[in-house]
């Protein structure tokens, strides 16, 4: 409430001012059940209709980029697990790629396949959690538990191989930290079989539900041009028909050898963004199926020196996280620590389009739109 006077511009009357205008300003967050973290939105309402949405950031800023400057090239990768904690492995992957690019390090084929497998498992886990959370945003509580049933299996697989469930820290420059667990393939097979049998429940509960379709179809529209100009990426942008899958456009590791589709829906509304992610889950499963029986033999890690040094210069790498394009921009002065690191996180740009999408919609839709954008606030604030 203390910000009201500074946020509202001069012409906008204060709430309940009684001078004919009926604007009401509500602070949604930083503690609010549907902002999925400490996002602070200042929304201007006319009755139930949203007139303006103003995101305020910084509540979970941990200056990860600055911290990276004092960590070595081996260490700084793991700080990034705490950015987008739902695709921690993919964040690490982006950083490892950047360091490898700088050192011109060749990653062994086995490590590449393991990395991609883990990436896709992470993406599946992330999309499952998103599905549950979105259902919760539109008011259905049960899907959350169904999503966790499957996600738990992925977390168990991660725990066995990586040692942790959420922030995997499995990447090292030049490969992965340890070889996969002997049970890894068996468990992944079990998971894929289970998920294939259960994914129809996702459609029955939510996708085909008439209430859900009414809540999302034609809501939160953003055109292809607007999506590009806001810099959106990932499933949120592909829901507007933008071709932006980094795995297809700038393939890394073994993605260029795999058969999978880039899901693009032209609708541009909440339902399209929803369908992109649902279909992406199936694509991820197909990627895992292609790779799981074909993990090549060999080293899981390239031979590197104990202390890594990057040559002087600027390096950029990008990966497709579960939420979109993560860019890692690294400047090296030739030492053992980066001179400067900048992350281009997908959530930040996707959030910036929220105001555009939510104007003129109802409060309930604002929440649903935020759900389909799949925001992770620590990724936005870093």
């Amino acid at each position: 409430m203390y910000r009201e006077t500074s946020i509202v511009n001069e012409s906008t009357p204060t709430p309940f001012s009684g001078n004919g205008e009926s604007d009401m300003i509500i602070n949604v967050g930083p503690q609010h059940p549907s902002t999925h973290g400490v996002l602070h939105l200042i929304i201007t309402l006319n009755g139930e209709t949203v007139k303006k949405v103003e995101p305020h950031l910084g509540y979970i800023h941990r200056s990860i980029e600055k911290m990276c400057e004092s960590l070595t090239y081996r260490q700084f990768i793991y700080v990034t697990s705490r950015m987008d904690y739902l695709s921690a492995h993919i964040n690490n992957h982006g950083c490892a790629l950047c360091v490898e690019k700088g050192m011109q390090l060749e990653v062994p084929p086995r490590a590449q396949v393991i990395r991609v497998l883990m990436d896709e498992l992470t993406r599946l886990a992330s999309h499952q959690l998103w599905w549950g959370a979105l259902a919760m945003d539109v008011g259905a509580l049960t899907p959350f538990f169904l999503a966790f049933r499957e996600r738990e299996m992925i977390n168990d697989i991660m725990e066995e191989t990586c040692g942790t469930r959420l922030t995997m820290n499995y990447m090292v420059p030049g490969g992965v930290m340890s070889d996969i667990h002997p049970d890894f393939q068996k468990k992944v097979h079990a998971f894929i079989d289970h998920f294939k049998k259960k994914i129809h429940e996702y459609d029955e509960l939510i996708t085909d539900n008439i209430i859900f379709q009414n809540r999302t179809k034609g809501v939160g529209y953003i055109s292809k041009e607007d999506a590009i100009s806001y810099g959106m990426s990932g499933p949120s942008a592909r829901g507007s028909g933008v071709q932006c899958d980094i795995r297809k456009l700038y393939p890394y590791e073994v993605y260029d050898k795999l058969q999978f589709d880039e899901i693009i829906e032209a609708g541009g509304d909440s339902f399209s963004r929803y369908m992109v992610r649902i279909k992406e889950m199936k694509q991820s499963m197909s990627v895992i199926e292609q790779l799981i029986d074909n993990i090549p033999e060999g080293d899981f890690q390239a031979k590197t020196k104990a202390v890594l040094k990057l040559p002087k210069g600027e390096f950029y790498s990008r990966v497709e996280t579960a939420r979109g394009e993560l860019g890692v921009y690294l400047i090296s002065e030739g030492g053992t620590t980066p001179y400067r690191i900048k992350f281009r996180s997908p959530g930040y740009c996707n959030l910036s389009a929220l105001d555009h999408m939510a104007r003129g919609q109802k409060i309930g839709d604002l929440v649903a739109i935020m759900g389909t954008l799949d925001l992770v606030i620590p990724d936005i604030d870093r």
Binding site: I26, P33, G139, L146, R149, I211, R215, D365
Partner: protein, 355 residues
């Protein structure tokens, strides 16, 4: 049951003078109503927890008492000893009054319900009208809570609730009327006796089925249950009209919600499923005699809890509607359908086509 209550009544009037006897009866019934209110709250909250647990692949409460049956009691105790906060800046009188209004309304509507054969607090001749009239008063309590809280979330929740309850009352009332025109009485005991040769859902043809479906939808909305729980809408308005409430004041809202569900389901069971009347087909058949062996209270509570289960099932399955969709559903679909349905029911009643 009839005998016991009659005996107590006779004994009281024989022992004391009529005024005192009546006062004693009032006191007994008041105590019973409060007891029932508390019991219903505990039972229904436990039921909701278990139903949701089954639907969500969980176990539900299982620590306090066998199968966790005392979990709700423990929670209520915790809420009772909690400080009853009154935030600064609220309208103190209305803020503290609102939960009691909601609770009193929920208790008063229990009066005309017939829980078993001959077991009724007040067999008023406008019973159905009384229930619909009084239960709509709870919106005053909700609006009061939302306004007095001096919180924008509460206000939005209360306004939504007001719009919602006022609209859905219409189609709930019209679907009730469909049965009333067939019965020809507003008295609950007469409505039940009219179903001696079969419940209305079986002998009322299409209009009663339509009325039953509309009734279930409308009362789900009237009691602010998902998928119509816009007044609370925890993902949008944190907790809607009771955002600022804590402790026992919150618990009163919570209990009243569950008692309201019980009341509307009991009303639905009475009107459409025969209340305490056992499952009868025709008159004087062997089947009817067998069914009569099951006590009438079992029939009544069985039907009511079945309807309650259906409403809980809705809640744990469906996403929530948006406010404009909610009002569209009522004004564009349910209300016209139930109006035509009422005409149809009247026509059937006039032609005596029902059994």
């Amino acid at each position: 049951m009839q005998n016991i209550t009659d005996n107590i009544h006779d004994w009281l009037y024989a022992t004391f003078n009529p005024t005192i006897a009546m006062l004693i009866e009032f006191a007994i019934i008041g105590a019973l109503a409060i007891g029932l209110f508390a019991m219903l709250g505990l039972v229904l909250i436990y039921m909701e927890r278990k139903v949701s647990a089954v639907m969500q692949l969980r176990l539900g409460p299982n620590r306090v008492g066998p199968k966790g049956i005392f979990q709700t009691t423990a929670d209520t105790l915790k809420l009772i000893v909690k400080e009853g906060m009154t935030p600064n800046g609220v309208d103190k009188l209305l803020f503290n009054l609102a939960p009691f209004i909601v609770m009193i309304v929920a208790m008063v509507v229990l009066a005309p319900l017939m829980f078993a054969k001959g077991f009724q607090i007040w067999d008023i001749n406008i019973g159905v009208f009384f229930i619909t009239a009084v239960s709509s008063l709870s919106v005053i309590g909700i609006l009061m809570a939302g306004w007095a809280s001096n919180n924008k979330y509460s206000l939005l929740g209360a306004m939504r609730s007001g719009a919602q309850i006022v609209s859905y009352e219409l189609s709930a009332g019209l679907s009730i009327l469909a049965v009333i025109v067939l019965t020809g009485s507003l008295k609950l005991s007469e409505i039940i006796t009219s179903q001696e040769n079969g419940w209305w859902i079986f002998k009322g043809h299409l209009p009663v089925w339509i009325a039953f479906i509309i009734f279930i939808i409308a009362v789900t909305a009237e009691t602010n249950r998902a998928p119509f729980d816009l007044a609370e809408a925890e993902s949008e308005l944190t907790a809607g009209f009771h955002t600022e409430y804590s402790g026992m004041k919150f618990a009163l809202f919570f209990l009243a919600e569950y008692v309201n569900i019980f009341v509307v389901c009991a009303l639905g069971a009475t009107l459409f499923l025969g209340g305490w009347m056992p499952l009868h087909f025709g008159t004087g058949t062997k089947f009817n005699e067998v069914m009569d062996y099951i006590p009438s209270s079992v029939w009544f509570f069985g039907k009511t809890f079945f309807l309650i289960f259906v409403i809980m099932w809705f809640r744990w399955t469906f996403p929530r509607l948006r406010i404009d969709q909610l009002l569209n559903l009522e004004w564009k679909y349910l209300l016209p359908i139930s109006m035509i349905n009422l005409l149809l029911a009247t026509f059937i009643a006039i032609m005596k086509w029902h059994f």
